[in-house]
């Protein structure tokens, strides 16, 4: 057996960089750290206005649907599982498993987006909560809309990677590309974990 064939890839150490971390991964972590601050400000804004709601603000508890949001949360958690399995699959060079995992992640991402569109439509047309008619609407739609935009970007990225996997150019050596995409997707999930608690669940206490 040749030395190349017997070699195995170490996905947690890159000797070609001074940090031992692949540059793409380092870039993604730096971006996610900055995105933390972005979402931190949006969540703070929402919570601040919830501290002192102006007169006429509709009670959020009557507007929100905890059942739908819990379902969305569950779906996003499961999509994170499928994304982790996709990264695991490409690190083992298993393209078939990668494709199925990516497809399932995209499917779950689309369900989440569908739930969000349904929720927004319900708020606007049934509950008469729009982005301009109250501060609750402004902060809520800005925060959850920005998160939804992140999910949409993730779904597009995942779809691109799925199509790219059929070209035959995606191999185990390129697993860092899938891993970076996975980091982004998991970040979208952890942001939702915070939003679910801070924006939705706190209203029910």
């Amino acid at each position: 057996m040749s030395s190349t064939a017997a070699a195995t890839l170490n996905h947690h150490h890159d000797p070609t960089t001074s940090t031992g971390i692949a540059n793409k991964k380092l870039l993604m972590w730096a971006f996610l750290a900055s995105d933390c601050m972005f979402f931190g400000c949006l969540i703070s804004t929402h919570l601040i206005y919830r501290l002192h709601p102006p007169p006429g603000t509709p009670p959020a508890r009557e507007v929100f649907s905890i059942e739908l949001t819990s379902f969305s949360t569950f779906i996003l958690l499961m999509s994170s599982l499928m994304m982790a399995l996709a990264v695991n699959a490409i690190q083992k060079g298993n393209l078939k498993s990668l494709r199925w995992s990516l497809l399932t992640t995209i499917f779950f991402g689309c369900i989440f987006l569908g739930c969000q569109v349904y929720e927004f439509r319900n708020f606007v047309f049934e509950k008469h909560l729009t982005i301009t008619n109250s501060i609750l609407g402004t902060t809520f739609f800005t925060l959850t809309g920005t998160h939804g935009l992140h999910v949409l970007i993730g779904v597009i990225w995942l779809s691109g990677m799925l199509l790219y996997s059929f070209t035959g150019r995606l191999t185990e050596k390129d697993s860092i590309d899938v891993e970076s995409m996975g980091l982004y997707w998991h970040f979208v999930d952890i942001v939702w974990i915070v939003i679910f608690t801070a924006v939705y669940l706190l209203e029910y206490i």
């Binding site: 972590w29 102006p54 905890i66 980091l183 970040f187």
Partner: protein, 124 residues
């Protein structure tokens, strides 16, 4: 691009093979914690206790995702440090803003208090 490390047989990495089950178990745990959060909001306890419970539960979920799904547990410590710099800055900003605007003096004035007195209006 991932680096090629010295040769090692496949059975030398039991962790790589067991990661699948680790991920599945963690996903199930996360789903259970989400269920617990839902139950928590309907419990007849004091508000501070419920808020603390929710914060702890969501922090546990957050940590499981970043350390297992995002591989921080197996990656270089620098990745953890880099991400936590952003997280601490964001958390600090949130804490400061909530403290500032949560203060009694930050309460918005009622509309009547903002209207000028009638005498001042007559002079003007």
């Amino acid at each position: 691009m991932s680096a090629i490390a010295p040769a090692a047989p496949a059975h030398a990495h039991p962790l790589e093979q067991s990661k699948f089950w680790i991920f599945v178990q963690i996903a199930m745990l996360l789903a259970v914690i989400t269920g617990l959060e839902l139950v928590t909001v309907y419990l007849p306890f004091m508000k501070w206790l419920l808020v603390s419970a929710l914060v702890i539960l969501s922090t546990v979920k957050f940590m499981f995702v970043i350390f297992y799904f995002m591989h921080l547990r197996w990656d270089k410590a620098f990745c953890t440090i880099l991400f936590f710099i952003g997280l601490i800055l964001a958390g600090g900003t949130m804490w400061a803003l909530l403290k500032l605007f949560g203060a009694e003096a930050s309460k918005p004035l009622p509309v009547t208090a903002l209207e000028p007195p009638a005498a001042v209006m007559r002079v003007a």
